[in-house]
Symmetry: C2
Subunit: 426 residues, 2 copies
Amino acid sequence: MTQLESAKKNIITPLVRSIAGKESIPASTLSKTIKQGKAVILCNNKHRLKNPCAVGFGLRTKVNANIGTSTDASGLKEELKKLNACVKYGADAVMDLSVGSCLQKIREGILKHCPIPLGTVPVYEIAVNARKNKRHFLDFGIHDILKTLEEQAKQGVDFFTIHSGVTRKSLAQIKIQPRLMGVVSRGGAILSGWIKRNNKENPFYEYFDRILDIAYAYDVTLSLGDGLRPGSIFDATDKAQIAELRILGELAQRAQSRNVQVMIEGPGHVRLNEIEKNIKLEKKLCHGAPFYVLGPLVTDIAAGYDHISSGIGAAIAASAGADFICYVTPAEHLRLPSLEDVREGVIAAKIAAHAADLVKNYKPAIEWDMNMSRARKKRDWKKQIKYSIDPERAAIFRKSSLPKESRACTMCGKYCSIKIMDESLK
Amino acid sequence: MTQLESAKKNIITPLVRSIAGKESIPASTLSKTIKQGKAVILCNNKHRLKNPCAVGFGLRTKVNANIGTSTDASGLKEELKKLNACVKYGADAVMDLSVGSCLQKIREGILKHCPIPLGTVPVYEIAVNARKNKRHFLDFGIHDILKTLEEQAKQGVDFFTIHSGVTRKSLAQIKIQPRLMGVVSRGGAILSGWIKRNNKENPFYEYFDRILDIAYAYDVTLSLGDGLRPGSIFDATDKAQIAELRILGELAQRAQSRNVQVMIEGPGHVRLNEIEKNIKLEKKLCHGAPFYVLGPLVTDIAAGYDHISSGIGAAIAASAGADFICYVTPAEHLRLPSLEDVREGVIAAKIAAHAADLVKNYKPAIEWDMNMSRARKKRDWKKQIKYSIDPERAAIFRKSSLPKESRACTMCGKYCSIKIMDESLK
């Protein structure tokens, strides 16, 4: 039975119980939210996962970090270093987006060392395999799709991004309302190309029920991808994006009726004042299914600093109800992320998620800020460092510049406001 | 005549004309906004300033960067390096917040090399002078205040932060509604301590008219400081903060009636969902006077990464109408900023300001994103780097990881979505 099926039968599984404990909520509440399709648990039932997590309404906002090789850089060792950084800095899930060589081996290596849920975009492997077999990378069919999905599910992948919403109908919208950037999702571009080349409907849409069979068997959560997400703020919330979202809403209901857990992916590049509308729209069109957003980036010009641009968008999105944030690193639009890029990306997304959790009134988040501010008021530096989002970095900063007044810092020195207030109260 | 006085007389000054040109708006519009007290021009009339700027409604969102020595680190050379970084990365104004030794000399050095408006918090020098003269740093009176203001104005300082709103009345609110962090503004703490020690009303409030005399004579813009800004999200929008804001609103009108340009300073640490309310409140209580915000930081726990926490808050604040953003660096709460901290702080604030300018429908901002997205669509890497917020960094990122496919990047390589779409359209 999948977690959704159990919840529908009002069975509280051990997994629901343990995750509810970590979230500081009653297990019955989590079970009910899963039953309503408003939360999912990312945990393949064949996968012995150390730290599974739930994503959805009433829960801590989760952060995903993307790792994986490209056709330019392909080494397991480097990806495992990145994986460790993701875990160290607090990512709740990772996705292996590899498109380099030896995909199975890379995934196996990552799965072996990964204590948190692992997601993939199976169409990447399908395209890479086609090319490996001396075919055009768009020469694949439903048989290849199901084979790869089955293999990956068997390996233990916990969630799949499936671009079932890139259909002839949603793509037609781009002709009606032309875009500045066209299709910028890698999976979305592959499926658009496939439809055009093969002159057939998207097989991930056409054979959705057969995909559900596999997802059901392994309790793999489907993450319905936004292949038509905007790649520029000028394309945000346009006809193509909304048409796809409507399709995803229908497919989400089909999945749930088959007891398959499902979440929805969202933009992308969106002007700041359109973000809340985007979240509300997803919640409405997809009946409250968990929303997994990539950013959104609030400007197109922050290459080199897109972790900041996306941190801004993600904090607003999650405050408005997005449940799951995909990190964006400073490398976005420029290169495959380095180890350092991964750290910066995870931390920026964690700050955004945490800022939203304060708005969502998530108690452990509130206590964390409370503890930090109390330590700050007492000028207790040990505790201030302990409660910093990255204690190692906070300690390095402080050590790099030790003040003469040991209980101040070198910003204000003798004129530390808290010190002045303490002394004037004497 | 001050710029406000000229605007009231419907005289369009050369300064208004040149700044309006840079803002791509009619000079008559800018003049009208200044007349209404909704915009100010930061430019001391004794100061030969290369790039003066205007702050307020209908204008590009401006960014201020704080530099200056502390009692722990005091060197002009280092501060000049920081100044150059501020200018290079696009700060519109800087404040010299020095509290170390040789304040006049430091300020003179900064003024000499500073092409953009310079602000100060004169009470710092007043307190430092008291100590230098072997008195307690809170042993100063109105004579000392006016002397320092006059000296700094004569030197060419363009705007003063004046904490006139820290009064017996506003401080009393902290007793009614106690705070977690108390008073965290350095100037606010000095004035609180002064009131307590001397058992008198804040001289910056008591003798406000005499301060206006000096500001008027040199057309120094007064930035009415929020000495009672929240230093923790739990203190945000509380009685003390609002009581001070009401006082600042009254003082702003007094200043304007005396033809002195004025803006209002704002928080601080504020939960994300309270930010818009804070902006609307300032605009209401201060009759549309330009709002200059420090952050706000959307969480207390991001020490080491407070440029991101404040970037989130600043983008939301400016989108809701804040006009001027004070940067926060990664060093905030930990140490005096390094040169590298200054760069990161300026860029984060610039991204926030720019994201807001897209919301404010500021045309040059929209064109910038449009140009970037067009370059991205064409996979024109020269132009993508040119239109990046920090072209130097974008070029370094790209160069560090050159792709085999010269018109892709190493993130996606062969599977670049834009490339796939281009080829499938052939």
